[in-house]
C-alpha cells in the first residue's frame, strides 16, 4: 500500500515535471506577438490517414494600432505551414500551387482580424534531389517534409503557420494545432489501399482538380474514382471524392467550352 502511494507520488511529480517542461516549451516556441493573436483552427481534430486536413488561419489585432499583415495566405507564400509528428521537429509543408500569387500587405486595424483561405493539407510537394550531390541534397531537403503525404502514418501531429507582419515583415508563428490521424478501417482501408501514393487522386481530394494535362489519364482517373465512389459510397474518401470529382468535371467542361468558343471567335 505504501509502495503504491510512493508510486502515485512519483508519478505525480513526473507528470508535473513533464507539464512544466511542456509549458516552458510552449512558452519558448510561442512567438505570437502580444498585440496579435495568430491561430489556426482545424475543421476537426481526428482525421483518417489520407484525408485532407483543413486549417483556417486567422490573425487578430489585439493592440490599439494598425499592424501590417499579409492579405493573402498560402497562395502567396507568406503563410507557411509546418507539421511535426508527436516527437519530431516541425518541417515545412508545400501544398499544390502554393506561393505563386504575388502577395501584398494590408493594415489590420485594432480588433480587426484577417482570415486566410482555408488551408488544405494532404499531398506534399517534394524536391527531386536525384541530380544533386549528397551535400546539396541534404541542403535541399533540410527543414522540409520529405514524404509524399504531410501525415504519412497514423498518429498525433501538430500543425502551425508562420506569417510575416509589420513593416519589416517579422515572422509570427501560430499556436500549434493538434490533430490525430487514425488508421483507415473497413471500406476506408479498402479505398486507401487503392488510392494511397496516387498523386493525382490526392490532389483531387485536396483541390478538386487533377494536375495532369493528359486527357487519357484524366479519363482513367475519373473512371477509377467513379468506381470507388460507387463501390464504397460510405467511405470517408468517397465523401471528398464525389463532390470534388463533380467540381473537376464542371471546371473542365467550363474551361473546354470557353476555350472552344474563344478559338471559334478567333477564327471568325
Amino acid at each position: 500500500m505504501k509502495l503504491q502511494r510512493i508510486s502515485y507520488v512519483f508519478g505525480g511529480l513526473l507528470a508535473a515535471l513533464v507539464l512544466g517542461l511542456s509549458w516552458s516549451m510552449v512558452g519558448l516556441t510561442q512567438t505570437t506577438s502580444k498585440e496579435l493573436a495568430f491561430r489556426g483552427t482545424p475543421n476537426k481534430e481526428i482525421f483518417v490517414l489520407g484525408e485532407p486536413v483543413s486549417v483556417k488561419f486567422e490573425i487578430l489585432n489585439k493592440g490599439d494600432t494598425d499592424v501590417k499583415v499579409h492579405a493573402g495566405g498560402v497562395e502567396t507564400g507568406f503563410l507557411k505551414v509546418f507539421v511535426r509528428n508527436d516527437e519530431g521537429e516541425y518541417k515545412r509543408y508545400f501544398g499544390y500551387g502554393w506561393g505563386l500569387i504575388l502577395g501584398r500587405m494590408i493594415d489590420l486595424s485594432p480588433d480587426k482580424s484577417v482570415t486566410y483561405n482555408e488551408v488544405r493539407i494532404l499531398w506534399n510537394g517534394k524536391t527531386d534531389v536525384s541530380h544533386l550531390n549528397e551535400s546539396r541534397a541534404r541542403e535541399a531537403l533540410n527543414g522540409r517534409i520529405t514524404t509524399e503525404y504531410a501525415f504519412p502514418e497514423p498518429g498525433v501531429y501538430f500543425v502551425k503557420g508562420i506569417s510575416y507582419v509589420g513593416e519589416n515583415a517579422q515572422p509570427i508563428e501560430s499556436e500549434p494545432v493538434r490533430i490525430e490521424v487514425a488508421a483507415p478501417e473497413g471500406d476506408d482501408l479498402a479505398v486507401w489501399n487503392r488510392i494511397k501514393g496516387n498523386r493525382e487522386i490526392a490532389l483531387l481530394l485536396q483541390t478538386g482538380a487533377f494536375d495532369t494535362g493528359k486527357e487519357e489519364i484524366k479519363r482513367e482517373l475519373t473512371a477509377s474514382i467513379e468506381e470507388i465512389i460507387t463501390r464504397y459510397p460510405n467511405s470517408m474518401y468517397s465523401g471528398y471524392l464525389k463532390p470534388n470529382l463533380e467540381k473537376y468535371k464542371a471546371d473542365e467542361l467550363r474551361r473546354k467550352e470557353s476555350m472552344e468558343r474563344a478559338k471559334i471567335k478567333a477564327n471568325n
Partner: protein
C-alpha cells in the same frame, strides 16, 4: 654432349696437326718460304701493288714468318706459282660466291649473337662496308637461302658421283657432274636476275660494281698456264676481307678469307682448295688469330672466318692468307699449286666525337585544354564576367542538348594534355577537382573560399580514366563528364608523375601542388599543370505566344426601366440581360468604366475607396451607377441595348486625353502582345545581367522555337489561379514534351490579358500580374510556363495596386516576366529582389542570392 663431341674432334685435329707438323718439317718450311716470296702475292692477288704496298706486304710476311705457323705440308718440289690473268671473274662464279658468302656471314652473325657478341659485324657487312640498303640486304639473304635450297641437292649428288668416279674412273660420271654444274650455274644466274629486278637498276649496278672491286679486290680469274706433266689444274678465285665495325663502341675487327676452285677441267684429278688465314695487327706486328680450311673440289670453297676482336683506334689490321690447290690421290695429297698471299687491311678510324650527352629532359605537361567531344551549337568559350558573382574566370561549357531528345551527350569534354618534349608513350596522370565558387556572396556560396561546393553529382565530375599515354605528338587525352547544374565549376590537373598528380589540392579557385604552390595553366617546367576553370552554363529555351485581339470584353444588356438623366447627374440605372433575364453583373466590376447606348455614353460613377458612403457602389448584379457626361439631358428608354465596359485598357490608349482617346471600349479588337520590351530581362544570347536576368545564375535565354502564335484565341480572364486554370491557355504551345526534360530546359510564356475575375482588380482588390503554373522544387517538378497579364500592367491598374513599389521599371511587364520565370526556376516569394521581399514587394530587377542559390543548387528542370 654435343659440345663434348666437338671438343673431342677439335682436340683430335690439333693433335693430328702437331703430328703432321712434327713429321713434316719440310711442309712447315715450305710455307715460310712461300710467304716470303713477294711475287706469290702478285700471283694470287690482282691488286696493283705500289711500292708502299710492297713494303706493307713484306712486313706482313715478316709478321707471319715470325709466327711460324702453318699446317700444310708443302710438296715444295711441285709447287708452281701462277700468275693472275686479266680475265674477269665469270658471273656464275661471282654470284655463287655472293650467295655462299651471304649465307656464311648470316650464320656467323647468328653464332656471334648467341655468344653475346655483336653479330652484326658479320651479318651487316654488305650494308656497313658495302652499298646495300637494309631492304636489299634482306632480299639478298632470301635469294641466298633459295640458292642453297636448290643447289644443296646438286652438291650432294655431285659428291656421290665424284666418289663413284674415284672408284670406277668411269668418265661418263664426270659428264653427269658437269651437267650438275651447269644446273648450279643456271640457278645462280637466274637468282642474280631476280635480284636485279628486286633491287632496281641503279641499286643493282652499284652492288655489282662493289662485288667486282672491293669485294673481290679486283681479283681476276686465274688463267692456267699448265706446265707440262701437270695436266689440267683448277682455276682459283679467292680473296681476303678485313671486317670492321666503327659504328658502335668498342670498334670491332675480324677477317674472312675464301678460295674457290672453278672450271672443273681436271677431269681425272681431284683438286681441293685450301687456305691458311691470319688476322694480324699490322701496327704492332702481332698475329691475333690463325686459321685454315680445306674445301671440296669446285663445290665447296675453302674459307676462314676469324673471331671478333676489339680494335684500337689508329692501328691497322689485316687479313693475310695463303692459298693452295691440293691434288689428291685417294686420301693422299700428291700435288699442289700455291696461289699466293692476298691480304686486306684497315686502319681503325678515330671514333666520331662522342656526342655530348644532352641530359634527356623529363617530359612534363605544359598545357591542359578542353574541347567538347561532340561540339554543341554553343561551344566552349571564355566564361563571361557577370558581376558580382561571376568574375569571368576560365571557360564555360553548355553541356545541355542542342535540341529536344538530342542523342548526343554533350556533357562529355575531351581533356587534352600536351607534354614537352613531345614524345610518345608517356603516361600522363589526370585528376579532376571542384573549384570554389568564385563569388564572395555567402548566400550563393555558403562554404566561403573552399572548393567542393558544386551541386551536381559527382561533385567534381567524372574522368573516363585517371591516366592516359601520349601519342607521337606528345598528347594524352581523357574524357571528362561535367555535371548539369549551372555554375558548377571544375579544373583538371595533369602530370607525368603520379605522385605529383596525387598531391594536388584545391585552394579556392586555384589548384596547388604538393608544395602548396599555385599550379599555372600555362606551364614550362612545372611538374603539374592544370586546365582553366570550366564552368557549366545552361540554356533556357523560351517559347513565346500571345493571345489574339480582344473580343467581347464587355457586358451586353438592356435598360430595364426608362430613366431620364440630366447633364452631369448621377443615377443608378436598372439593367437586364439582352434576353431580358437578370443581368447578373459582377458587382463593382465596372468601376471607372463606361456605359454606351444608342443615345450616347455615360461614365460609371463611384468611389470604392470611401467605404460605407453613398458612392461606394458602382454596379451590383442588375444595375449600374452612371454620370451623364454627354452635356445634355438623356432619356434611357426601357429595352434599349447597352454595352458596359470596365476600365480595362492594357495599353493606356482608351483613357482620358492626352494618353487616350477617352473612349474606353474594353480594348476591343486590340491584339494582345508580348513585346520585345516585355522580354527585356530575357534578351537572347546575352550575358549582361541587366539584359539577361538569368546570367547571374549561369544561364542564357534562347529563342529557337520560332513558331510564334499570337492570334490563336482571346480570353478576357483566366479560369482561376491554380495551375489547371492557367494551363488551358497554353493550347498553342509547340514544345509540349520537353517541360520535364532535364537536358533541354524549356519554358513557355503567354501574353495574356487578365487573371481570374477575382484577381483582375475589377473591382479593386486582388491583382495578379502574371501566373506560373508551378514551382518545380515545391510541387513535384511542376512548372512549365506562365501567363503574363498585360492589362494588369496598365497604368491605371498598377498604380492603384497597394503593392506599387514606386519605381516604374519595377511595374513593367518585363519585371513580371523576370519574376514569373524566377518561379519556374524555383524562386519563391520572399527570396528578395525580383521575387519580392517579406512584405511582398518587388525590390529590384535581379535575382536575389537566395534565388540564385535555389536555381543553381536545386533545379532539375523548369
Amino acid at each position: 654432349m654435343r659440345n663434348r663431341l666437338i671438343f673431342g674432334v677439335l682436340a683430335l685435329v690439333v693433335l693430328s696437326t702437331f703430328a703432321v707438323l712434327g713429321n713434316s718439317p719440310e711442309y712447315f718450311k715450305g710455307i715460310l718460304d712461300s710467304v716470303v716470296k713477294l711475287e706469290f702475292a702478285e700471283v694470287f692477288s690482282g691488286k696493283n701493288t705500289t711500292r708502299k704496298e710492297e713494303v706493307k706486304q713484306e712486313k706482313l710476311r715478316e709478321i707471319i714468318r715470325r709466327a711460324e705457323r702453318s699446317r700444310f705440308p708443302v710438296v715444295k718440289s711441285k709447287a708452281v706459282e701462277r700468275k693472275a690473268s686479266e680475265t674477269e671473274i665469270s658471273e656464275k662464279m661471282l654470284w655463287r660466291i655472293v650467295f655462299d658468302f651471304k649465307k656464311k656471314i648470316e650464320e656467323k652473325g647468328a653464332e656471334a649473337n648467341s655468344k653475346g657478341e655483336r653479330g652484326t659485324l658479320y651479318s651487316n657487312y654488305l650494308i656497313r662496308q658495302g652499298p646495300l640498303s637494309t631492304e636489299n640486304d634482306q632480299i639478298l639473304k632470301q635469294k641466298s637461302q633459295q640458292y642453297f635450297l636448290e643447289v644443296d641437292p646438286l652438291i650432294q649428288n655431285a659428291r656421290t658421283i665424284r666418289e663413284n668416279y674415284d672408284k670406277t674412273k668411269d668418265k661418263s660420271l664426270l659428264d653427269q657432274v658437269k651437267g650438275l654444274q651447269r644446273q648450279r650455274d643456271e640457278i645462280a644466274l637466274r637468282l642474280r636476275d631476280e635480284i636485279k629486278q628486286a633491287f632496281g637498276e641503279e641499286a643493282f649496278n652499284g652492288f655489282a660494281n662493289f662485288l667486282k672491286t672491293d669485294f673481290t679486290g679486283g681479283m681476276k680469274s686465274f688463267q692456267p698456264n699448265i706446265p707440262e706433266g701437270f695436266g689440267n689444274v683448277p682455276v682459283p678465285v679467292g680473296e681476303t676481307l678485313i671486317l670492321w665495325d666503327e659504328t658502335a663502341y668498342p670498334t670491332l675487327i675480324s677477317g674472312y678469307t675464301y678460295l674457290y676452285l672453278d672450271l672443273f677441267f681436271s677431269d681425272f684429278q681431284s683438286w681441293n682448295p685450301y687456305i691458311e688465314s691470319y688476322l694480324v695487327n699490322y701496327s704492332t706486328g702481332s698475329i691475333y688469330e690463325f686459321g685454315w680450311n680445306e674445301g671440296y673440289r669446285d663445290w665447296v670453297p675453302a674459307e676462314v672466318f676469324h673471331s671478333i676482336f676489339i680494335s684500337n683506334v689508329g692501328q691497322t689490321y689485316c687479313t693475310v692468307a695463303d692459298g693452295w690447290a691440293l691434288l689428291y690421290d685417294g686420301p693422299m695429297v700428291v700435288d699442289e699449286y700455291y696461289y699466293g698471299q692476298p691480304y686486306d687491311c684497315h686502319t681503325v678510324n678515330a671514333p666520331p666525337p662522342t656526342p655530348t650527352p644532352t641530359p634527356t629532359p623529363t617530359p612534363n605537361v605544359v598545357s591542359v585544354t578542353f574541347s567538347q567531344v561532340t561540339p554543341s551549337t554553343q561551344n566552349i568559350t571564355p566564361n563571361p564576367t557577370v558581376l558580382p558573382h561571376n568574375p569571368g574566370i576560365g571557360e564555360r561549357i553548355f553541356p545541355d542538348d542542342d535540341f529536344p531528345d538530342d542523342p548526343v551527350n554533350r556533357r562529355v569534354v575531351r581533356v587534352t594534355a600536351t607534354i614537352s618534349p613531345a614524345i610518345p608513350n608517356v603516361n600522363v596522370h589526370f585528376r579532376n577537382f571542384d573549384l570554389d565558387d568564385p563569388t564572395s556572396n555567402t548566400t550563393v556560396d555558403p562554404n566561403g573560399t573552399f572548393g567542393n561546393d558544386n551541386s551536381g553529382t559527382p561533385i567534381a565530375g567524372t574522368l573516363s580514366s585517371m591516366s592516359s599515354v601520349t601519342n607521337g605528338s606528345g598528347i594524352a587525352t581523357v574524357d571528362f563528364t561535367v555535371t548539369r547544374q549551372p555554375g558548377d565549376n571544375f579544373a583538371i590537373a595533369a602530370s607525368t608523375a603520379e605522385a605529383q598528380a596525387n598531391g594536388v589540392n584545391v585552394a579556392g579557385i586555384e589548384l596547388t601542388n604538393s608544395s602548396g604552390q599555385n599550379i599555372p595553366t600555362v606551364c614550362v617546367t612545372e611538374l603539374v599543370c592544370r586546365s582553366q576553370m570550366l564552368t557549366v552554363w545552361r540554356r533556357l529555351h523560351i517559347e513565346v505566344d500571345s493571345m489574339g485581339p480582344v473580343v467581347e470584353n464587355r457586358a451586353l444588356g438592356r435598360i430595364a426601366t426608362t430613366t431620364r438623366i440630366r447633364s452631369n447627374e448621377v443615377r443608378t440605372i436598372p439593367l437586364t440581360a439582352s434576353d431580358g433575364t437578370a443581368a447578373n453583373l459582377e458587382p463593382n466590376r465596372f468601376e471607372g468604366g463606361r456605359m454606351t447606348t444608342g443615345f450616347g455614353a455615360l461614365r460609371v460613377e463611384c468611389n470604392l475607396t470611401n467605404i460605407d458612403t453613398t458612392d461606394d457602389f458602382c454596379n451590383d448584379f442588375n444595375s449600374v451607377r452612371v454620370r451623364n457626361t454627354s452635356g445634355g439631358l438623356l432619356t434611357l428608354i426601357a429595352g434599349i441595348p447597352i454595352q458596359l465596359y470596365d476600365d480595362d485598357d492594357f495599353n493606356d490608349n482608351d483613357g482620358p486625353p492626352p494618353t487616350g482617346d477617352g473612349s474606353l471600349d474594353g480594348d476591343t479588337d486590340e491584339d494582345i502582345p508580348l513585346r520585345e520590351t516585355d522580354l527585356a530581362l530575357l534578351t537572347a544570347d546575352n550575358d549582361d545581367p541587366a539584359a539577361n536576368i538569368l546570367a547571374q545564375a549561369y544561364m542564357r535565354p534562347v529563342y529557337d522555337i520560332v513558331d510564334r502564335d499570337d492570334d490563336g484565341f482571346f480570353q478576357a480572364n483566366a479560369f482561376g489561379i491554380a495551375a489547371p486554370d492557367i494551363r488551358p491557355f497554353f493550347i498553342d504551345r509547340d514544345l509540349t514534351t520537353t517541360s520535364t526534360d532535364v537536358e533541354f530546359w524549356t519554358v513557355y510564356i503567354l501574353g495574356a490579358y487578365q487573371s481570374a475575375v477575382f484577381a483582375d482588380n475589377d473591382p479593386p482588390g486582388l491583382l495578379v500580374f502574371g501566373h506560373a503554373d508551378g514551382i518545380p522544387t515545391t510541387s513535384d517538378g511542376d512548372g512549365s510556363g506562365f501567363a503574363i497579364f498585360q492589362e494588369a500592367h496598365s497604368s491605371k491598374e498598377i498604380v492603384a495596386y497597394p503593392n506599387d513599389p514606386g519605381d516604374p521599371s519595377l511595374r513593367h511587364v518585363s519585371t513580371t516576366v523576370g519574376h514569373e520565370i524566377g518561379h519556374l526556376l524555383s524562386g519563391q516569394h520572399g527570396d528578395g529582389d525580383i521575387m519580392t521581399d517579406g512584405t511582398g514587394i518587388i525590390r529590384s530587377r535581379r535575382f536575389h542570392p537566395t534565388t540564385i542559390r535555389r536555381i543553381r543548387s536545386q533545379l532539375l528542370h523548369p
